[in-house]
């Protein structure tokens, strides 16, 4: 039938694709298990003492040290820390593993925006069975409400991401540019910098759903509202329009570097001064220290630029929880690790290595606020982050299918980056495409 290898391989690949798809679908429909029986703290402790091995999917860099300390404390436990991709890549892998029913990790890092989708899809263990009630008041209100969904608790907050402006002070000093305090000043600084050095850009942007939604959040926009299965999407509201008109100026002037975040070129640009600022979550210092060691001492932190001069508004960007997939093998042991990393000794280890906590005690402690960051030239960056955390605009919510919506962000909004289309119009296309998917999935979309 196939007289040569290429055609045969293609046919084989096509068949495999069909078989895989089929198999995935078959497994996906069979999982309707409900919350398990309560698991007491003693049982979790017993699991920790008995030992075993768990697999953790996470990309947060400070977990490495946590795992080391955890294994030292519980010598019989072996933790396999796997980086299965950052953000969406990992969610795709996780969804596939859950659907296939094999290769599911015991613990997975899931950002707050993605948690509702996984909870709704019945992929995660409801942690209330482990007695999460005792943790009320441990975590800051924002993250704690983010991990709750329909009466259940589907993850423990690991960090939070109140946004701030990270900037390369050397570059700003060299070109005598003032650190922007408003978005208008930010655009002006972008023009001045790029004119002074055509290779340098104020920031990088190739269309990032998380960043865009965070900026809309800060501008006071509330494009997504969710009430059970009733969903409203309006990416043309005042906050969204504010963002679109400002950011459009940067795109029109080609003032943002066309470099994807987390790419090799990105780290290079952060190191050599061609990417001068990042407006990003407070979890960034750990990533800068590990990813851009060469720029130590050059970077500083400032409050997020404002939409109205003199205002004090901020938004969350990213921030993750640790969750336990239902299909994981060893839930009690997994919960032991979860609690250690998010509410136990792990918190301090992670803060010491540059992570930003979601726990009240640490966030308010003097030791935390007064910590000097050598990477930021001895600056007490946590003071700025803590103020940002307090200034986060309330009332934001994500879509219950935000992971999918974000996956088509570049199909729609991304077009404004590579064609003459305007951001405002492409945001509308994103809204329409997301609404269409929502309807197909059985939501009432208004």
């Amino acid at each position: 039938m196939f007289t040569n290898r290429r055609a045969f391989l293609r046919a084989a690949a096509a068949l495999t694709a069909v078989v895989t798809t089929a198999a995935l679908a078959a497994c996906g429909s069979g999982d309707d298990g409900e919350t398990g029986t309560p698991v007491s703290a003693d049982q979790v402790q017993a699991a920790l003492d008995a030992g075993g091995s768990i697999t953790v999917w996470a990309w947060e860099p400070t977990l490495k040290q946590v795992v080391t300390a955890f294994e030292a404390k519980y010598p019989k436990v072996k933790v396999n820390l796997v980086n299965a991709g950052t953000g969406n890549d990992q969610y795709t892998a996780l969804q596939n593993a859950v659907a296939a029913g094999s290769g599911v990790p015991d613990v997975a890092q899931i950002e707050y925006y993605a948690l509702p989708q996984f909870a709704l899809g019945k992929s995660l263990t409801d942690l209330t069975a482990f007695g999460t009630g005792e943790l009320d008041g441990t975590f800051t209100p924002g993250p704690w409400s983010s991990v709750k969904s329909g009466g259940g608790v589907y993850g423990l907050p690991m960090d939070s991401g109140p946004m701030a402006l990270f900037y390369n002070k050397d570059v700003f000093d060299k070109h005598q540019i003032a650190v922007p305090t408003t978005w208008d000043e930010y655009v002006a600084a972008a023009k001045k910098l790029h004119a002074a050095d055509p290779k340098a850009y104020i920031t990088n942007d190739t269309g990032d759903a998380g960043f865009t939604t965070s900026l809309i959040w800060q501008a006071g926009g509330k494009p997504f509202s969710v009430d059970g299965t009733n969903v409203k999407i309006n990416l043309g509201d005042e906050g969204s329009s504010k963002f679109a008109s400002t950011w459009q100026q940067l795109l029109d002037g080609k003032l943002v570097a066309p470099v994807g975040s987390w790419s090799d070129g990105w780290y290079k640009g952060l190191g050599d001064g061609t990417i001068a600022t990042l407006v990003i979550g407070a979890w960034m210092p750990a990533n800068l220290e590990s990813g851009v060691p060469a720029a130590k001492g050059k970077w500083r932190v400032a409050p997020m630029p404002q939409w109205t001069a003199g205002a004090n508004a901020a938004a969350e960007n990213g921030g993750s929880s640790l969750a336990i997939p239902k299909a994981g093998a060893n839930n009690a042991l997994a919960y032991g690790f979860l609690k250690y990393a998010t509410a136990g000794d792990g918190v301090k280890i992670r803060i010491d290595n540059g992570a930003f906590p979601a726990t009240n005690a640490e966030l308010k402690s003097d030791a935390f606020l007064n910590k000097e960051f050598p990477y930021f030239g001895g600056q007490k960056a946590n003071e700025i982050f803590a103020k940002s955390a307090a200034a986060v605009v309330p009332g934001w919510s994500y879509l219950p299918f935000q992971v999918y919506a974000n996956s088509i962000f570049n199909d729609t909004v991304g077009q404004a980056y590579v064609s003459d289309k305007k951001l405002a119009d492409t945001l509308k296309s994103w809204q329409d495409a997301s609404a269409k998917y929502g309807k197909e999935q059985g939501f009432t979309v208004g």
């Binding site: 290429r6 096509a14 694709a17 679908a25 299965t229 590579v418 999935q441």
Partner: protein, 307 residues
């Protein structure tokens, strides 16, 4: 046991064995049929079965009949993707096959110095996995940190960005051509090698030039190989996936999640969790590919009969 039994029966009661229906043959083809059914037919049947359902986040799975098919035929994303690979097919395949033919004729002519070297070198890219090849070309295409960027910097040029929306399809075509020219060349070359040398001698005696030999002897003789290569290339074009999928990380806004039909099926299944609709897209695309390949074959056969 079964294999030994029939001769005994045949020898003992020849009349009855001839009259009654014998299942012996099935015993021989049975194992093959079982594997064939399990490996080839079952997945296709299952995909068709899947395409009749729809699973939703809210409301679960329900039978929808041919609704998914109706949706595919009115899905602008699917048709945009199909249109794109059709354009790719119309431009890239002729270019690639022409180049392959040219190289095959050159090597076959015997006038090329270092024939074996060229044969191996042109074929080499086929041995490079598509993923690696695309990554390699992706780095070269980069206009900031790649070869294009370096050339721009070194010579003060401003080369167009190969990863921009206007050039992306051509850039992918370039990669695919690079990968498969050698492979098609080898098909043509081996077909050329089967032509009896005596024909060339006869042509020479008749005073035919090289071009005449190519037109009157070589091309007609390898028509079958040309057809096969064309059909494989058609299938390959419609199934375009690896190259755009890898370049997506370099140009996320240019290569959409529905850039080719295969990518569309993949993202429907893996980011949208719409397995049923994905299966439908796969089936429709498979049928379309078969129709186009069959049409080409039919046309070629008719031409052959006429000539």
């Amino acid at each position: 046991m079964t294999a030994l039994a029939p001769p005994t029966i045949g020898r003992g009661r020849p009349v009855r064995a001839r009259r009654g229906r014998s299942w012996t043959g099935w015993a021989f083809v049975g194992p093959f049929m079982a594997v064939f059914a399990f490996v080839f037919l079952a997945p296709i049947a299952y995909a068709i079965w899947l395409s009749l359902f729809r699973t939703r986040l809210i409301g679960g799975t329900s039978f929808v009949g041919l609704e998914n098919y109706r949706q595919v035929f009115t899905d602008p994303k699917f048709w945009e993707a199909t249109g794109r690979v059709s354009l790719f097919l119309a431009v890239q395949v002729p270019v690639m096959l022409f180049l392959a033919l040219l190289v095959a004729l050159a090597i076959d002519s015997g006038r090329l110095y270092g024939r074996a070297f060229f044969r191996v070198t042109v074929f080499m890219p086929y041995a490079v996995p598509a993923v690696v090849a695309t990554l390699m070309w992706g780095f070269m295409y980069g206009n900031r940190f790649g070869l294009v960027g370096n050339l721009n910097e070194a010579f003060g040029l401003s080369l167009p960005d190969p990863l921009s929306p206007d050039l992306m399809l051509a850039s992918i075509g370039n990669i695919v051509t690079w990968e498969f020219v050698g492979y098609n060349m080898l098909i043509f070359y081996s077909a050329l090698q089967t032509i009896p040398r005596s024909l060339y001698e006869a042509a020479e005696i008749d005073g035919a030039g090289q071009l005449h030999v190519i037109r009157s002897i070589k091309l007609p003789a390898i028509r079958g190989a040309l057809l096969i290569a064309t059909i494989f290339s058609i299938i390959g074009s419609f199934q375009l996936f690896n190259e755009p999928n890898i370049l997506q990380s370099l140009a996320p806004n240019v290569i959409t999640t529905y850039y080719t039909p295969n990518m569309y099926a993949y993202s429907l299944s893996f980011s949208g969790q719409q397995y049923d609709y994905s299966a439908t897209v796969a089936i429709v695309m498979g049928v379309l590919t078969m129709i186009v390949a069959y049409a080409v074959q039919l046309r070629a056969n008719r031409k052959e009969r006429r000539s």
